[in-house]
Symmetry: C2
Amino acid sequence: MDKIFAKHNNTKELILDAAEALLQDRGFSAFSYHHVAQQLGVKNAAIHYHFPSKADLGTALIRRYRARFRDYTRTLERENADPISKLECYFAIPASYLQNGRKICPLGILEAEFNAIPEPMQLESRLLDKEMRDWLAGVIGEGRSLGVFSFEGSAVGKVLVVAAALQGVLQITRVAGPQVFAATIEQIKRELGIF
Amino acid sequence: MDKIFAKHNNTKELILDAAEALLQDRGFSAFSYHHVAQQLGVKNAAIHYHFPSKADLGTALIRRYRARFRDYTRTLERENADPISKLECYFAIPASYLQNGRKICPLGILEAEFNAIPEPMQLESRLLDKEMRDWLAGVIGEGRSLGVFSFEGSAVGKVLVVAAALQGVLQITRVAGPQVFAATIEQIKRELGIF
DNA sequence: GTCTATAACGTGATAGAC
DNA sequence: GTCTATCACGTTATAGAC
């Protein structure tokens, strides 16, 4: 679980950490180089040295989300985790966002602002969504064929409902309070036949 | 259904129409008075005449969403619509957003940008969420007690999963294409026991 | 009610010193 | 690698003419 928020010491990673927090807190359009610089105690020119344009920063951010998710799932694979454990780990991601200051799913904000973000970020967002949803489809399909998950309909539809509900409920939390998250997770589990 | 996108002739409503489209297309931070003015063929000072500050414009926008939803549900009540019809009408709202240029749920963008929007807009967003989710809870509870809906778990959890999934899938549509919407609706219906 | 003009500010970005 | 200084631009907002 530590790996989800692993921190590093070099400046580039610290910039990404600050930008990541700002992205999931305020959105892409609403955070600036000045915000990032302030949080690190440097001037905005220092940020431009590491990431010349905001598109560069945003793209690097999404690439890091992708790499992190890939590493995370590979670790689960190496440990031969069962479908239920994998699903719990998947739920742990939004749960950690919520606990960390009511942050929302990065894909949620990127998709919501989709028509206002640079094209390279749009492309990376597509890849992040595909990779995460494909992985979840594998877990849910595997769990169903092993008999640990039970649900009606297609696996594709089920994956969409689960992924969309998690993304949506993190946002709803902002206006309705954190208790809606637990209620949603419980309902999702129930509808996967996990008691 | 016409009422969802009812148009009017006075300038104030035309401004709100343009701003509404921009909000659901680009988000609040990423649209400007200039964008609105351009779409109406006027100068931005004209917009400031009707809505002095951007917070005023945003707040009026959300108030209009609330009024529209209230009128819509009252009409359904007056027509003695059954729970299934009501649910179909509820699904018709995001469906119309999708068809109208892949717009997303206004609550989705407002919640995603929540920490970057003016406080009056935050308050109105809370009310909009509460009103919509309370209404949906009534429909789902009524349908369950009438035996037309069947599902496991609590009605509160069910409402959250349905509302969050719809909000989320409109966003996912942006990166994954419109076909994911139909698949999600189908899955949601199946899990409500509607065949 | 809409216009022109302009102010005040924040933002993304660059040049060049250290 | 970070700084100061500065630029060009978009944005919110206001004043006053029409």
